[in-house]
């Protein structure tokens, strides 16, 4: 390809024997290096550098509203997080609790919806589009609407639970049920993603196993548990991977609806890190919390990828 370019007639200036600029020389000699450079700079500047800088900062103590420079303290930030910091432990547990609860609800509902939507019925296209709407809406707007719905005095949720004789609840103001209430919002927003991915998986399933199952007299329930679910497993695992990564990092709906409250009852790792870094100005400690969150997300992802490839 490059040879062809060299033997082809060049631009007018080259044909007239004028010396080519150093720029075009360089482009001809190292095309791969030159043309990937802009993308490389962007990736390095916006992704690689911040990660390493965060790790570097996590080993320092720096209170950003003082005039002192960052002080190297080794792994003391991590020791503090795991041993002394109650709010960190609380946030860690809440993050896991929120993630498990939200992804479990989304998984069950999402797969069920996909199976329903996969059947032929009138207005299927319309229903599919409507089911995708929550995913398209802005998270902050969603959070504000849900906040109104959860309002213990004026909201519709207490009216609805009242109809079946339950409540009234304080929803996101009740330390005991704030996490399930927030997980419900996340579920409302993100179940469609699982539905979408599962529908794509369902479209690729082979028909033959179902035919032979019918001939052997299998019931629909048997077909679902023995054929559909095992065949869908890789697809569902991808959906689960996406959702658990996102849930571990959820910030928008929690911050808008409760800012971690009441007290610290819904303060997940990401919300806590935000407070520590951007409200308290402990940049070094916030960096180490970010590194821990990063490790947690990476760890969960690796386990899920392993499970997807493995046999169980």
């Amino acid at each position: 390809m490059i040879k062809e370019m060299q033997t082809a007639p060049g631009p007018a200036s080259m044909r007239e024997g004028k010396p080519a600029s150093w720029w075009s020389h360089l482009a001809e000699k190292h095309p791969v290096l030159l043309f990937t450079l802009p993308a490389g700079i962007v990736v390095f500047g916006l992704m690689v550098f911040p990660v390493f800088y965060t790790v570097y900062m996590s080993l320092h103590s720096w209170f950003a509203s003082s005039l002192t420079t960052p002080e190297f303290i080794g792994v003391r930030n991590f020791v503090r997080a795991f041993i002394q910091d109650e709010r960190f432990r609380n946030a860690f547990v809440l993050t896991i609790y929120f993630t498990v609860l939200a992804t479990a609800m989304q998984l069950v509902l999402g797969v069920a919806l996909a199976l329903l939507l996969n059947r032929p019925f009138r207005g299927k296209g319309l229903f599919r589009s409507i089911f995708l709407l929550p995913m398209v809406a802005t998270p902050v707007a969603i959070a504000l609407v849900w906040m109104m719905m959860y309002n213990p005095t004026l909201g519709v949720m207490n009216y609805l639970t009242g109809l079946v004789g339950l409540g009234p609840y304080k929803w996101v103001s009740d330390a005991r049920i704030v996490i399930p209430a927030l997980a419900a919002v996340d579920t409302w927003e993100w179940t469609p993603l699982i539905t979408l991915i599962t529908l794509a998986g369902l479209a690729t399933l082979p028909l033959e196993p179902y035919e032979s199952a019918l001939i052997d007299g299998a019931t629909p329930a048997q077909m679902f548990w023995r054929i559909t679910l095992p065949l869908l497993r890789p697809t569902i695992m991808v959906a689960l991977l996406f959702r658990s990564i996102d849930c571990l990092k959820t910030f928008d709906i929690i911050y808008v609806m409760t800012a971690g409250g009441p007290g610290f009852a819904s303060e997940t790792l990401n919300v806590y890190t935000f407070q520590v870094g951007l409200f308290y100005f402990h940049i070094g400690y916030a960096s180490s919390l970010l590194v821990i969150l990063f490790a947690l997300v990476l760890g969960v992802s690796l386990v899920l990828i392993k499970v997807r490839r493995g046999s169980w």
């Binding site: 209170f63 509203s65 003082s66 005039l67 929803w171 103001s173 800012a259 409250g261 007290g263």
Partner: protein
Amino acid sequence: MTDDGQPGFGIALRGKRAAATSQFAGMLHAMGSTWLTPGREPAFTSDEGVKAFDMWGRLLRLYGPPGSENNHWYEASSIFSQGKAAMFMDANSLFPVIEDPQKSKVIGKVGYVLFPRGPKGQYGSTVAVWGLAMPKSSKNQKPAWLFMQWATAKAQVMNLQSEKGILGCRESVWKDPKGKGKVPGDLSESLMQGSKMGTPLWNPPVVAVAEVRDTVGAAIVTSIQGGDVRAAVNKAATDMKRIMAETENK
């Protein structure tokens, strides 16, 4: 009960962690306590201080709207301006929300008074002004100083106070009938009184104020939830001491 027969509440207050501390300061000082001792040790662990935390929580738990634990000024003032609460204790700068003809249902039915005095007659009012500050390290001190003079000059304060209802702190503007603008009479009167004997300690006087507010706010939330107030206040004091040691005298 509210005017239209709907269930209403006795009082609306802030209960959200850090946000509540600035209004709670009134209760703290009225009860006869304060944030720090002269030796910069937490002072609110005294009996008076614990009583203040307990009172704030009890008011909201028994007579406030459910879910007060997450209420900021916005939620609390909405409840009051919708006529759902009989009393509302918050910053007087919020009066435009209560007097907003578009949204408020209580216009003309509200009286403004100073923060109630405590059991020994102590005033609880706080003078919560937002100021402009210039760090020593500023590279453009002269222009900054000129800007500060311009922004706080009588003409600016007069304009903002009379036109926009943003309450200023210049006595000369308050004495000028034009300066009072649309500010209700009893509000401007209580403000003049409050500015004379109110305390400027509307928040803990510490460097890491955001972090300490969250810590103190956690004790307020515990009190609203009906938890062990004394234990929560002691924990807030311990945390406050640690935060101060980490962030001050460096």
